[in-house]
Amino acid sequence: MSILGQIRTLVAKEFLLEWRSKYALGGILLYVLSTVFIVYNGFIRVTPPEWNVLFWIITLFTSVNAVTKSFVSENGNRQLYYYSLADPIAIICSKIIYNSILLMVLNVLTYLVFGLVTDNPVRDKPLFFLAVFLGSVGMAITLTFISAIATKARNSATLMAILSFPILIPILVSLIKIAANALGIITDTSVNQDIITLLAIDAILLGMAYLLFPFLWRD
């Protein structure tokens, strides 16, 4: 089977697994809802700049929790079985694609719920969703790759956070700036430059994940 065919099958497998173990999906959805409500109850009235930062922090924590399980939840024997069946590149690509879609769904959900309970301050919706899209992809690439590293170590969950947070900061900083434009907090004529920077960061991280993953799976 070609790599593309393998990727398609593996993505379908991820969705099927997710659908069969509904408790995991339900768990992460509840995580989103309860985080949003904790933040809402703490703040009640949220100004647009706060909304922007809070949104991306909720997104960050949700993403870390959602992606951690992508490698960690599968035990070593099953992973070995996958590697014997498919190309490792196809495995990491399928996980990145699946996690990107998962994070996009979760982030849009966060946006809907958080926008519902607070006054939704987003003015330029296409720009905001572009930020959500690029952010989800960037976080999915980084977190999937880091989870592949962390899964082999002790204390995977703690390691996920300390390994990925500093690396996610460039993405988050760009996201908060682009979203600030979408919220009308700042008007920046160079927002295109930020989008290009974010795209470049995503591309670099994807390239690194592609190049370095072959060194990770062999054991």
Binding site: K152, F165, T197, M208
Partner: protein, 350 residues
């Protein structure tokens, strides 16, 4: 002895940086003047406080206030001087060349011992309500003294902290160089294996973290003096703190494996991934945001007159010196690791 030339060179250059960086005096300059404002038509008696200056020794002191490039006021009645305090009278003419507008004038002072010095925006002059013709504008100045000597430039915001350029900036450059080579050794380890390369990665990162922390500390001291706060929320400050967090995470990751081969391979992969992820953080993002650092956000770069030949004479050796010293420290750390590793493999208690 011959093969240790780079260690000797590194130590000598750092020693040279320390001695030259601290011993070479600042060029004489003007620290402040009082009063700082005047009205057209005043007979302004200006008290000038000098820095490292020799007013008392000087025989030929001249002073001007510069309104613009064709309007100067000549200082008269220069008197009552100690080495660092001088009184000069200026008769400010009226009307001003540009009426109805206040303007800050630059003070120019020269004598044969100290050479000439400037204080930009020294005195603000406001126009008088009624214009009576009095006073005289000179349209050129002449007879500035050039004094040859080995001195660092005098800058009004920096004063003696200009010497921090030989520590803060080279430590930072050296850190980037060390992290760059640790990434290279990481790649070599992944391709060729050999625990020597892995130990090289770890030791270079350890020294890099040390340099990073020293760079932050020297930066914070400098920021406290020039920007008013040790942590000014400057984008480069924040980003460099993040860079150190990444490498601290690397150290944590290393300790989270039981098997040495896994530990070396996984941490090498993270090391490469992290370095590449840091490139936008350190080199791209700070350019998109306003920074207080020179050369960012519309600030003039540290160059031109600030980085004069005397500064360069210490600055470039400092970069080489700190880098070589870092490489030496990393080599010692690597040897210690190799001994420990060998002892572990032979099951010797170390």
């Amino acid at each position: 002895m011959l093969k240790h030339w780079w260690k000797i060179l590194g130590a000598l250059l750092v020693l040279y940086t320390l001695i030259a960086g601290f011993m070479i005096p600042l060029k004489p300059g003007i620290q402040e003047v009082t009063p700082t404002n005047a009205q057209a038509g005043d007979n302004l008696s200006l008290a000038i406080t000098g820095y490292n200056s020799h007013f008392k020794d000087a025989k030929e002191i001249k002073a001007w206030l510069k309104y613009d490039s064709t309007h100067y006021i000549v200082g008269e009645n220069i008197r009552d001087s100690t080495q660092t305090l001088l009184f000069v009278d200026f008769k400010i003419p009226t009307p001003l060349p540009i009426q109805n507008e206040s303007r800050r004038m630059t003070l120019i002072l020269t004598n044969e011992v100290d050479g000439y010095s400037l204080l930009p925006d020294a005195v603000e002059v406001v126009p008088m309500g009624i214009d009576t013709i009095m006073g005289q504008w000179g349209n050129t100045i002449g007879g500035l003294h050039e004094v040859k000597g080995t001195t660092f430039p005098y800058r009004n915001i920096l004063y003696e902290t200009i010497r921090n350029l030989f520590f803060h900036v080279p430590l930072w450059f050296a850190m980037i160089i060390l992290f760059f080579f640790s990434t290279i050794y990481g790649i070599i380890y992944l391709i060729l294996g050999n625990s020597r390369n892995d130990h090289m990665v770890l030791s270079l990162n350890q020294v890099g973290i040390l340099y990073g922390i020293l760079g932050l500390v020297t930066g914070a001291i400098w920021a406290n003096w020039t920007w008013g706060e040790p942590w000014s929320g400057d984008v480069k400050q924040n980003m460099s703190a993040v860079a150190i967090l990444v490498y601290l995470a690397y150290l944590v990751l290393r300790n989270a494996f039981d098997d040495y081969e896994q530990q070396a391979r996984y941490s090498a992969v993270y090391n490469i991934f992290a370095f590449v992820a840091l490139i936008p953080l350190l080199f791209v993002l700070p350019r998109l945001y306003d920074s207080l650092h020179p050369g960012n956000g519309g600030n003039p770069g540290f160059g031109g007159e600030d980085l004069d030949n005397t500064m360069r004479m210490v600055f470039y050796p400092a970069i080489i010196g700190w880098t070589l010293l870092g490489a030496w420290m990393a080599q010692l750390a690597r040897r210690y690791m190799a001994l420990k590793h060998a002892a572990l493999e032979k099951d010797v208690d170390f």
